[in-house]
Amino acid sequence: MSAPGGRATSAPRLGRETEPSLFDFSVAGRRSASFRTSDLPEWSLAELVDERYLATEPVQLAEVAERDLVAHFTRLSHRQYSVDLGAYPLGSCTMKYNPKSCDAAAAMPGFANVHPATPPSCSQGWLQVLVELEEALCAITGMTAATLQPAAGAAGELTGLLLMRAYHESRGEQRARVIIPDSAHGTNPASVVLGGYQVSTVGTSARGGVDLDQLRAALDTDVAGIMLTNPNTLGLFEEDIVEIATAVHDVGGLLYYDGANLNAILGIVRPGDMGFDIVHLNTHKTFATPHGGGGPGAGPVAVDDRLADFLPGPQPVRLEDGSFGYATPPKSIGRLHSWHGNALVLLRAWAYLRLNGADGLEQVARVAVLNANWLRERLRGAYDIPYDRRVMHECVVSAHALEKATGLRALDIAKRLLELGFHAPTVYFPHIVDEALMIEPTETESPQTLAALAEAFLTIANEAREGGSASEAKSAPRTTPVGRVDEARAARQLVATFDQRADSGS
């Protein structure tokens, strides 16, 4: 385990020079676009549209040659880190390798060029893929029905909460609160409020799980449900999940499973078997659909039979004659998407599931957990390990002691890692850990890459301890396309478009 891996120095170095804006390349009259020869009458705009609707001046866009366009965006791409370039151990983000065959599937014209309003008779292939994906997601989560409409995890969360609301209302119950642990992702409380509920927060026990006493004290018939991530954002499995489920169900509440960390338990344990009633999944995490620099994702939601009738519609279904069509569940909460969800993302997830199969998915979880535990042990001693027990797919370590001794903060460690050729882990999350570094290596990083990543973390800690200060890391990163970015200035003097620049003349 000595060969280096995951290094990404050459490409960022190529992109060291500041790239002008596309608008800086614009020359009036230059063009790239050309169109089909239509042979249609060349009516003027004035003949086509009443003048009162028309703009007096055209929308000003950059006017560039195709060659400029290619050079600009290629150079921008050289200023960007990506999974294809190297390890991306962002905790809770599951930045695993994105198989090329899944991208190739999404590029097939037989899928990519199908209009969403195409009648079912001409889109059987698509409908079959979506129905099979729903079925596979139910098998993985232990649920009975699923919707593929939510376009991302946060949309899935809100869908789940609206399902929870519809369920309680159908029983004539008005419940006001949803319980969330203090280690939860920020989307959880935001979604709860958009779902029309109040947030009740419960604390974390000494072993890093939900504090059962606090939970029991918070539970009454006013509680609509609880949102849990399991394993949680500390990377720890909720050991008391059976007790939690019983306690919540006893007051008539539902259990919502945030699928952000599902990668850890594929084929090991299913949310349904743990007692969850509603599950959302992030295909861009667990099922390797590429994250696109921030999106697109897809956030399917699976539910047990109590909630199936409330799912969004219309949804693709298998008909009695074996063909495929659409149906809307009888008590549907309505639409969550203009069409059928982020179909091309869902197709990639379907392809990923086929390429892995039942056998592969189990191995995915096992090796993801192995990698996280191996890395955590390598970092022991150099970093603090809060809630010290075996982790699942990610580990949270703390730079608290290092910071006290040397002034080295989690942020400095993140920036120095960039300089050493790796993407940084998630920092300052979960909030319950001081100077948190949340590291998720995923199963697709080799032992060699893992060793090199661990070495980089240890180097950073040693530099600070041996030098007695954090000076080396404080000035990092120096080998990246730009140095440390002044985030405060961006917020203080907002320049959110080219036209708001002081030198833009407007």
Binding site: V83, F111, V129, G186, P189, K415, A491, V495, D499
Partner: protein, 453 residues
């Protein structure tokens, strides 16, 4: 055990386990209670090879009919068959963009951040507004967020939404209102455009949080935005305008007509039809509301050496910091689609954008006249249109669409959901883009005529 994208050899796994003092991978899961462990593995087939996958994909794809020579597209309704040149496909599929995560570390994410900054600039110019975010899921999601912004900014939950807004966007708004508690009222259409007089009746409630109008609307008709602005002023509401980014190449901008928020579907800019997603939610608003802007915003700044740099900014608005006080829960957005749109708009340029609007409008005029010349076919609304239009046909449009797929045409979209009980229910919505030619339209009209008999 075998997993195609796990690099570890059995020997390496054994070595790692031994170093951890474990004897098997099972030992890693001791925290999972035995009572709930999955016995017998997942109920899924074992893994396929890539070659087997490709065979199956070919087979499934043959059950679909993509638009193209064999199925000429006259369907729109929010998803349009526009030109996507090779250069846009090539640049937008660069894996540096495709396989990056959210730009949390700006020093190694300048590529995505700068592309988003350029995208935001383009969206503000298209809308005539001050600031645009880095994208939302799609047009419908943008509308939902716009209404949330308006309700928060005004402290008023009442939403007056034109019945001309895309019915599937309206449906989604209604779904979210189950949680937000927004009171949505539809403002009816009269001959294809919104009749705002209904909002000015004596005795009707005097205030609202949001007034929503779409132009061109779902029927393709151009709306009088000034009338919507007047209604918004009268009610103390924010005006939300749903705009068509292609029509924006020739029409007055939402901002210049008084919109406080402009939202739109960015799919026409380089994004394949994709069976409905992922698409691109366009969202722009005035500077006064920037602290309520949903989603990510990229700002320009400098690095330690004073070089221009970009970073996600005004982060205190976002859910990961604001938590239950956040007005939006958006985290993942559609960055790759935003970058794609920026590349496509770079390819189009000032004249290209205007040209696709004009070419689409010419095709619509020609197609509309050809179809209206057919016996029994009538316009569903008399109001002026640009590139999409609704027709009443003597044969039920669902049947007509089925017949015409057999002739090689996707004839349009049935107007049903969201128009129940209106004069437009049961009409056919037809759209054209710059890709439709005279000969395609001539043969379509012939087939259309035949399909009615």
């Amino acid at each position: 055990m075998s997993a195609p994208f796990v690099p570890h050899t059995d020997g390496e796994i054994a070595e790692m386990l031994a170093w951890l003092g474990l004897s098997s991978l099972e030992d890693l899961f001791e925290a999972v209670p035995h009572a709930v462990r999955l016995a017998g593995g997942l109920d899924l087939p074992d893994h396929w090879s890539e070659a087997d996958l490709n065979d199956r994909l070919e087979e499934l794809a043959s059950g679909n009919r993509p638009v193209g020579r064999d199925l000429v597209c006259f369907a729109g309704a929010g998803a349009y068959d526009h030109e996507i040149p090779a250069v846009v496909r090539a640049l937008a599929s660069r894996s540096e963009f495709v396989t990056a995560y959210t730009p949390y570390q700006p020093e190694v994410a300048q590529g995505v951040l700068q592309a988003l900054f350029e995208y935001q600039t383009m969206v503000t110019r298209l809308t005539g507004l001050d600031v645009a975010n880095a994208s939302l899921y799609d047009g419908a999601a943008s509308l939902v967020e716009a209404v949330n912004l308006a309700a928060t900014a005004t402290g008023n939950q009442r939403v007056l939404c034109s019945a001309g807004v895309n019915p599937r966007w309206r449906a989604q708004m209604a779904t979210f209102a189950r949680g937000s508690g927004h009171e949505i009222e539809a403002v009816p259409l009269a001959d294809g455009v919104t009749d705002w007089s209904a909002t000015d009746q004596p005795g009707s409630s005097g205030t609202a949080g949001a007034v929503v109008v779409a132009t061109p609307n779902y029927l393709g008709c151009l709306e009088d935005v000034a009338a919507a602005r007047e209604a918004a002023d009268r009610l103390g509401a924010r005006l939300v305008v749903c705009f068509d980014p292609v029509a924006a190449g020739v029409l007055r901008t939402p901002g210049s007509q008084g919109a406080d928020v402009a939202v739109g579907e960015g799919q026409p800019f380089g994004i394949p039809l994709s069976f409905g997603g992922p698409y691109l939610g366009l969202f722009a608003c005035r500077l006064a509301d920037v602290r309520k802007l949903p989603g990510r915003l990229v700002g320009e700044t400098v690095d330690t050496e004073g070089r221009t740099a970009y970073v996600a900014t005004l982060r205190a608005r976002e859910q990961d910091i604001r938590r239950e006080r956040a007005s939006s829960n958006v985290c993942t957005n559609e960055t790759l689609m935003a970058i794609t749109a920026a590349i496509q708009l770079g390819w189009l340029g000032t004249r290209g954008l205007a040209e696709i609007a004009i070419r689409s409008a010419r095709a619509a005029r020609y197609c509309r006249e050809a179809l209206l010349a057919i016996d029994g076919v009538e316009a569903a609304a008399a109001a002026p249109v640009l590139r999409e239009f609704a027709l009443r046909t003597p044969v039920e449009p669902g049947v007509l669409i089925d017949r015409l797929t057999g002739e090689g045409y996707l004839a349009g979209v049935v107007i049903d959901e969201g128009f129940e009980g209106t004069p437009y229910e049961g009409s056919l919505l037809v759209a054209t883009t710059e890709r439709r030619t005279r000969s395609e339209i001539d043969s379509f009209a012939q087939a259309f005529d035949k399909a009615l008999r």
